[in-house]
Structure formats: structure tokens, C-alpha cells
């Protein structure tokens, strides 16, 4: 915008110099003043918007930092708890905090990876909030760990609408993880729509099984 105004200005100045008509020159000068005024206002507006944005960003960052700090504290506490536990009972493997073994451990909170949905819905049901939180904690405790959320739908209806719905489902999990402090850069959300059904039956149980987001850890499971 600024460039455009300067360009117009340059154009006007050239026109102004080229013409011998004083009136025209006056008019050009007035126009030039108006333009300079508009430019100044635009710059002020831009600066105001920027400072507003940066204030908002600061607030977001502050909240995220707070969340991260709390999560780190919790993680540290969980870690020390686990270490105490490990000391108390030698049967517990001290490597249980390794994400790979946690993901493979049937007694671990992150063993389950699937969030299920009602028909044509993409909001995370209350009963799956603890599962999402457990995965958020796993990601917060393992800064190198990346996750891939795969959204799925049952086979009924439109292929393309289901693809869009699957993306909404995957995105809803991604957003929940972000709210819990996991950076967006470590979460990929993709949709498979109705293309990869886990259950192949044509009954409500199969359909329910296929209305699902899977929290995956490529290369770590």
C-alpha cells in the first residue's frame, strides 16, 4: 500500500513538472498534500494495529509460557514421583518414561490413541478429554516427539464431505493439544475421510469405530 502511494506520488510529481499550467500545478500540489496526509494516516493506523497485535501476541505468549511452565512442573513432579516409585519397587523399569515404551505399555494412559465422535460431529466428547490430556503430557515431556493426527469418518454419504469432516476431527484434536501447550509445529493434522475404515462391517458398531481420530507417532511406535 505504501509503495503504491509513493508510486502514485512520483507519477503526480512527474506530471506536475511536465505541465506548464500553474493551475494544474496547484491542483497537483493539493493532491500531493492530500496523498501525504492519507499516507501518514495509513502509517499511523498500521502502527496502531501492529502494537495491538504485538500486545495480543504477548498475552498469548504469556499464557502459553504459563501453561508450559505448569506442564513442565507437572512433568517434573510426575518424573520424580515415578523415580520414587521406581526406587520403591525395583520391578518397574526405569525407562518407562521413554515415549516408545509408554506408547507400547497397555497400562499407560497414552496406550489408547483413538478419539471417537458422534455422527456428523467433530467436537471432542468429554469422555475423551483425559486421553487427549495424556497425549499432550507425553508431547510436553518429550520435546523431540512429533505427532500426526489422522481424522476418519464412516463410509456413508459424500466422500468429499467426509474428507472435510475428517479434517475437522483431526483439527479439533490438534487444537486441544495446542491449548494444552503443545506447539503447532509438532502436530500434523490430516484427514483420510472415509477411505481407511478400520471396521469394514455395515452396522452402527462399525460406523462408530470408523468415526475416529488417531493420535499417531510416526517412527516411535
Amino acid at each position: 500500500m505504501k509503495k503504491l502511494i509513493l508510486l502514485m506520488l512520483a507519477g503526480l510529481l512527474v506530471t506536475g513538472c511536465a505541465t506548464q499550467d500553474v493551475k494544474e500545478q496547484d491542483k497537483a500540489a493539493v493532491e500531493q498534500r492530500d496523498l501525504l496526509e492519507a499516507q501518514r494516516k495509513a502509517e499511523e493506523e498500521e502502527a496502531r494495529r501492529k502494537s495491538q497485535l504485538s500486545r495480543e501476541q504477548e498475552e498469548v505468549n504469556r499464557r502459553l509460557d504459563e501453561e508450559r511452565r505448569r506442564a513442565a512442573e507437572e512433568a517434573a513432579k510426575a518424573k520424580s514421583d515415578a523415580e520414587i516409585k521406581a526406587l520403591a519397587s525395583p520391578s518397574v523399569n526405569s525407562s518407562s518414561l521413554d515415549p516408545r515404551s509408554q506408547l507400547k505399555d497397555p497400562s499407560s494412559a497414552v496406550f489408547k490413541r483413538s478419539v471417537y465422535y458422534d455422527f456428523d460431529r467433530y467436537d471432542i466428547r468429554e469422555d475423551f478429554a483425559p486421553l487427549v490430556e495424556a497425549h499432550a503430557n507425553l508431547l510436553l515431556q518429550n520435546r523431540d516427539l512429533k505427532t500426526r493426527i489422522e481424522g476418519n469418518c464412516d463410509e456413508r454419504g459424500s466422500t468429499e464431505y467426509n474428507l472435510a469432516l475428517g479434517q475437522r476431527r483431526a483439527d479439533s484434536v490438534k487444537r486441544a493439544l495446542m491449548v494444552l501447550g503443545v506447539p503447532a509445529s509438532r502436530i500434523e493434522a490430516v484427514s483420510y475421510g472415509e477411505e481407511k475404515p478400520k471396521a469394514t462391517g455395515q452396522d452402527e458398531d462399525s460406523y462408530a469405530e470408523n468415526r475416529r481420530s488417531d493420535i499417531m507417532y510416526p517412527g516411535n511406535e
Binding site: T159, A164, R168, D171, E195, Q202
Partner: protein
């Protein structure tokens, strides 16, 4: 050609057109194995069928593709014709002067097709046919084509197109092609076949899903969505040489390609800015432009034949419904009102109506609705019908259905009277798209 009847001379322009078609068909020498042919079963017919008698063409038995048989099969499969059998007649006539008018008249023939295949000195074949009006004892139409032996099948479809148009008043679609996805175990194939299911071959095969194929208006390219890179990306695939390019690969899902009638741009669905929204993109992948601005799913754009308007699916009102908006974007108005699930709108070639998928008591079926009307007419009764696609003459709608728990293709006429089912020997067939009419130059 001193003895050539008038109609044959008039056909010179068409002969050139047919040679053009031959070149196109040769250009379609696709890689891969030949596939099991689909066969079409008619499961309902028009109550008012046109009687037709097609006699074996002279010398047709010398070739693998027997012209008279293919022509007759095409016409009968369309559902608009009934075979008027004339019983045993000895050697079939191939020239008007050979026709025993009284014999055919007493045996009930009214529309009689005769023809022959003559090998020329240069090895090419001259295929001639005539449609005779038995009551008037005269010729209604007739053409001659000079083709190679490998073009006999395509020539037969072309003859069926001429007969169909002469007798029904609408363009025939026997020379068109269709494409669809075959889902096997751990393998998806995008296949292209003749409209009768013959000559099927795959243009893409992958472990990951392929969906939403869409023909370019000139029939030379197919846009589709492939998950081969573990996310949905839109590709444009050139049929002549098998080359392809990425049309859209943005963050999130890239899907639902739909060509504008002039072939210069496509409408696509992207989630790069959040929820699925509709964008336009130039055919070379440049100039991406957002067309919808909602907080809801907007997808499945379909262009009006004049290119001015798009129909699309949106759940902005709480349930997925069909909406309409200018093709450059702008305010949208809702066009479906019955029930709470109306999706996949497809504009009819004449622009007067659209077909779509409607849910009724847990079943998903093809419905049709006139633009400007609020009433949908249900055309099918399957459990889970999807992906409707108009034949380029607008008479039939091809769609994906289920039979014996497998995905099959089926077709229904726009008035719901004619129903056809395509079958294949293996795999689940889905996501059909009917190609355009072959434009003669």
C-alpha cells in the same frame, strides 16, 4: 466415387472427425495390464421403447469387433430401444437394393439398420451403414467411415451415436469414456474405460487412496485427489502421455477438483486457512483465489454449464445442504430444503437441474431437482449411493452403489425409469466420473 450414394458423400466431414477420434484413441495407449471388462445389466427400461432391427454387417464376422453386434448392444443397453427380431432371413441385405421390403414389413421391422465392412486395397476398412425406414421403403440416414481394423469398435460406437441421435433427438454417448476407482486389497486403481465398460485400463495405481476424479472439458486430462504422499493432494493427469502435475498441495487437505466449462480453471477445496473452503485455481496451479468465507465446511463445487455459478455443499446452516453462489465468489443462497443431509451437487449439462445425494430414513440416494424448484425427486433406492455424475447428454446419471456388499457402478435415467448396473469380477468400484462428448474438429 461415381456410384457413391449422396449420404456417403455428405459424410466426408464426419469421416475426418472419426479419424480425429482414432488419433485420440491411439493417444490413449495407457500403461498397465488390460482389466476385466465391466458388463452392464439393464434392470429396468423405458416403457415407451423405440423398436430397432440391426442386421449383421456384411463381412463383420471376419473381425474380432463385430460392428452390427456392438451397435445393437449399445442401443439396447441404453434402455431407449427394444429389439424387433425378424427371425431367420437368409443372407442379410447390405445395400438398399437388396432389401426385401415386404419380408421386413410383415415381420414387424420399422427401423432397419444394414451395413457392411469392405477391405480396401490399402488395407483400411470402409465401414458403411444405413438406417432404413421400412414403412416408407427409404433411407433415413447413412454414413461411411474409413478406418483401421483397431478402430472398428470405436466406429461401431460412433454409428450407434448417429442412430441414437436420429431416433431420439438427443446426442448419443456411446463414444464417450468413464473413469472410476477400483479399491482392491491394499491397492487403489484409477481406471478409464469406454462408456460400455470395455477397454478398461488403469492410469494410476497406488497403495494409498485415490478419490474425486474429474474430466477436463476436452477429455484430455483427469484431475483427482491422491493420498500417495500420505495426505490429500490434487493432481492433473494428462491421458495422452501419462504425465501429471501437482495442482494443489497446501497445508491440510487439498481436494474436490471441478473444471470450469472453458477448462481454464478449477474449483477446489482447501483447508489451508482452517476449515474446508472453496477456492479457484488456474489449470496450471497458479492464481489461487478464495471463493467462500464461512466458518463451516464448504466443498464439492460444481460449475453451471455457462460458467457463471457454482453449486456446492455447505453445513453453514447446521446440516450439510446444497448452496449456490457466483463462480467468482459472493453471497450464497440455499437450494435444498428437504431433510438434513443433501450433498454432492452436480449440475446437469442443460443447466436446468442438478442431481445430488440425499439421506432419507438412513439411506443415501441419488435425487434430482430443477433449479428454482424446492422439490427433489428421488431416483434410486440403494443403501449407500454416492458420487453421481451426469452423462454428457444429460439422460443418464452414473453413480456408485452397492451390490452383494461390494461397490458397483449403477446408472439411472433422469426420469428414474431406466436402471443399469455395471459389474466387475473383482474389487470395489467407486467414485465414477463420466467423460465429455468427443468434440469433432
Amino acid at each position: 466415387m461415381p456410384n457413391m450414394p449422396k449420404a456417403f458423400i455428405a459424410a466426408a466431414g464426419r469421416r475426418r472427425a472419426l479419424q480425429g477420434l482414432g488419433a485420440g484413441a491411439l493417444g490413449l495407449a495407457l500403461p498397465g495390464l488390460a482389466r476385466a471388462a465391466l458388463t452392464i445389466e439393464i434392470i429396468g427400461g423405458n416403457s415407451n421403447q423405440i423398436p430397432i432391427t440391426v442386421l449383421p454387417f456384411g463381412n463383420e464376422e471376419r473381425y474380432k469387433d463385430q460392428v452390427g453386434q456392438i451397435v445393437l448392444a449399445d442401443l439396447l443397453r441404453s434402455g431407449w430401444f427394444r429389439l424387433q427380431d425378424v427371425g431367420s432371413i437368409g443372407k442379410p441385405p447390405v445395400e438398399p437394393s437388396d432389401v426385401d421390403w415386404r419380408q421386413f414389413g410383415t415381420r414387424g421391422a420399422s427401423n432397419l439398420v444394414i451395413g457392411n465392412v469392405v477391405e480396401r486395397s490399402d488395407g483400411k476398412l470402409a465401414v458403411r451403414f444405413r438406417l432404413m425406414d421400412v414403412a416408407k421403403q427409404s433411407q433415413r440416414t447413412g454414413f461411411s467411415y474409413t478406418v483401421g481394423v483397431e478402430q472398428l469398435r470405436a466406429t461401431a460406437h460412433k454409428i450407434a451415436d448417429v442412430l441414437y441421435e436420429e431416433l431420439t433427438g438427443e446426442a448419443g454417448v456411446f463414444s464417450t469414456r468413464i473413469c472410476y476407482v477400483v479399491k482392491g486389497t491394499d491397492r487403489f486403481e484409477l481406471q478409464v474405460a469406454d462408456a460400455d465398460g470395455a477397454n478398461s485400463d488403469f492410469i494410476l495405481a497406488h497403495r494409498e487412496p485415490i478419490i474425486s476424479p474429474a474430466w477436463s472439458p476436452d477429455g484430455s486430462k483427469i484431475a483427482y485427489v491422491s493420498f500417495e504422499r500420505r495426505k490429500p493432494i490434487v493432481f492433473v493427469h494428462s491421458l495422452a502421455d501419462g504425465s501429471r502435475q501437482v495442482l494443489a498441495n497446501f497445508e491440510g487437505a487439498n481436494s474436490s477438483p471441478s473444471w470450469s466449462p472453458d477448462g481454464r480453471q478449477l474449483a477446489i477445496t482447501l483447508t489451508r486457512d482452517g476449515v474446508a473452503q472453496i477456492y479457484s485455481v488456474a489449470a496450471d496451479g497458479s492464481a489461487v483465489n478464495r471463493l467462500t468465507n464461512s466458518q463451516s465446511i464448504d466443498t464439492e463445487a460444481s460449475w453451471s454449464p455457462d460458467g457463471r455459478t457454482l453449486l456446492f455443499t455447505s453445513d453453514r446452516g447446521g446440516s450439510p445442504q446444497v448452496y449456490r453462489m457466483p463462480s467468482s465468489g459472493g453471497p450464497a443462497d440455499r437450494v435444498t430444503f428437504e431433510g438434513n443431509y443433501n450433498v454432492t451437487p452436480r449440475w446437469s449439462p442443460d443447466g436446468r437441474s442438478f442431481c445430488f445425494i440425499q439421506r432419507n430414513s438412513g439411506r443415501y440416494n441419488v435425487a434430482i431437482q430443477e433449479l428454482g424448484s424446492r422439490e427433489a425427486v428421488l431416483l434410486t433406492d440403494g443403501r449407500n449411493d454416492s458420487s453421481p455424475t451426469f452423462a454428457p447428454n444429460g439422460r443418464m446419471i452414473l453413480y456408485a452403489s452397492e451390490h452383494n456388499k461390494r461397490g458397483v457402478l449403477a446408472a439411472v435415467s433422469r426420469d428414474g425409469r431406466i436402471k443399469q448396473r455395471f459389474s466387475d469380477t473383482g474389487g470395489n468400484i467407486r467414485e465414477p466420473a463420466w467423460g465429455p462428448l468427443f468434440k469433432s474438429r
